[in-house]
């Protein structure tokens, strides 16, 4: 079916009574008038369709449902800090690795002496990364979750051994920054 009126014209005519050019065309063009009447019927069918009203109890309880759902959501767009478990797990694991790195670096040797001037190594050797701090991070986790993120023994030592001294120093600085960022 060929329509001489553009879709914009039909839509505008649906919103209000057709007038001017559109009205004149509809009186003279059978094709457009048929199209217009069909669109009008569709529009009226849409407008006549209603949404079933839920139970009044639904409206009474919906606000508390939303309140519950937003409980762990910080209104600045991120998660509330106590709900940011993934960060805590990652930092906790990293902190344990730092302890392992710190233990390895405390062993006397020329390499560790050469790096003693870097802030990161000094912080570790001064015991800033406290084991109690790490334990606190894990204390909030359920036992099964904490186990899943506990260092896997020899795998962690292998990871630490693979780092160069410079890489270990950089890694310690990164972890210290993460720990400082915690509230």
């Amino acid at each position: 079916m060929t329509s001489h009126l553009a879709p914009d014209d039909f839509v505008a005519a649906l919103e209000r009574t057709p007038d001017g050019r559109v009205a004149e065309h509809l009186t003279s063009c059978d094709a457009c008038r048929t199209e217009w009447e069909s669109l009008r019927q569709g529009w009226d069918a849409l407008a006549g369709s209603d949404v079933p009203e839920p139970s009044p109890l639904f409206w009474d309880h919906f606000p508390s449902r939303v309140r519950e759902a937003t409980r762990d959501v910080a209104s600045d767009g991120g998660l509330a800090w106590w709900a940011h478990r993934r960060l805590l797990w990652g930092v906790g694991v990293a902190a344990l690795v730092v302890l392992a790195v710190g233990g390895a670096l405390r062993a006397p040797g020329p390499a560790s002496e050469a790096l003693a001037g870097s802030g990161g190594i000094t912080a570790v050797s001064d015991g800033v990364v406290d084991f109690d701090e790490v334990a606190d991070l894990f204390a909030d986790l359920p036992p099964d979750e904490a186990q899943a993120f506990a260092p896997a023994g020899t795998a962690t030592w292998a990871l630490v051994d693979d780092l160069t001294l410079e890489e270990r120093a950089a890694f310690v600085r990164l972890v210290e920054r993460e720990l400082e960022a915690l509230p």
Binding site: G42, L46, V51, P52, F58, R65, V66, T70, V73, G77
Partner: protein, 212 residues
């Protein structure tokens, strides 16, 4: 008349249902009493100022509009309720960044449409039944006429669900929420001309879906 009490036919007063639901003692002051008469702008400012209960009032004020929008997208009560909850959670996250250049209700429409368009529920088959879950006021006294109206409404709702997402969103926002085309275009990230074309093509498709 006190809003926390309702009169009994035989005389006397009992707590209003809202009071029973809230668990407050009748007559006890609510932490949101001073916010209920505030306009949307004041509620947003109160929320930004740290009053979490201001968002509760926003939910109570806009929950019906958001729910109806969500129902149009999902076609059933359970999905509509879940989607409406998601809309308000998104609104809770985004409200601190709300600039106030549009009305709060319009902004919630935008959040609702974007949430609905992103949600997997749109790709599920429509699950409306011809028997509605209507608990509301039935204004048509003739039960046959009412049943016929409900069946036609259900058919139309089912047909809407079969429209492509942007055509569906345009129809819902224009026909049921009376948003102007420029606002629809902003919400969908398109042009006014494209929004009008969506309506045109949606009506053509609905004609085929619904038959003569």
């Amino acid at each position: 008349m006190r809003s926390d009490l309702q009169a009994m036919p035989f005389g006397g007063w009992v707590p209003a249902r809202s009071e029973l639901v809230s668990g407050r003692a009748p007559g006890a002051a609510s932490p949101v009493d001073d916010l209920r008469d505030a306009d949307d702008h004041a509620l947003v400012e109160a929320f930004r100022g740290g009053r979490r209960e201001a968002f509760d009032v926003i939910v109570e004020r806009h929950q019906r509009t958001v729910y109806r929008l969500c129902f149009r997208f999902t076609g059933n009560h359970e999905d509509a309720a879940d989607l409406a909850q998601d809309v308000f959670v998104r609104a809770y996250r985004g409200l601190p960044q709300f600039k106030g250049t549009s009305a709060l209700g319009t902004w919630l429409h935008r959040v609702g449409v974007n949430t609905a368009l992103n949600r997997n529920a749109l790709r599920r088959a429509p699950t409306t039944t011809l028997e509605g879950t209507d608990h509301g006021d039935h204004r048509q006294p003739d039960p046959v006429e009412r049943l016929d109206t409900e069946r036609r409404s259900a058919l139309v709702r089912r047909a809407i669900l079969q429209l492509p997402p942007k055509q569906r969103a345009t129809v819902i926002l224009r026909v049921y929420h009376d948003l102007p085309y420029d606002e629809i275009a902003r919400t969908l990230g398109t042009t006014v001309g494209a929004a009008k074309a969506n309506i045109f093509h949606a009506l053509g498709k609905l004609k085929r879906l619904l038959g003569s």
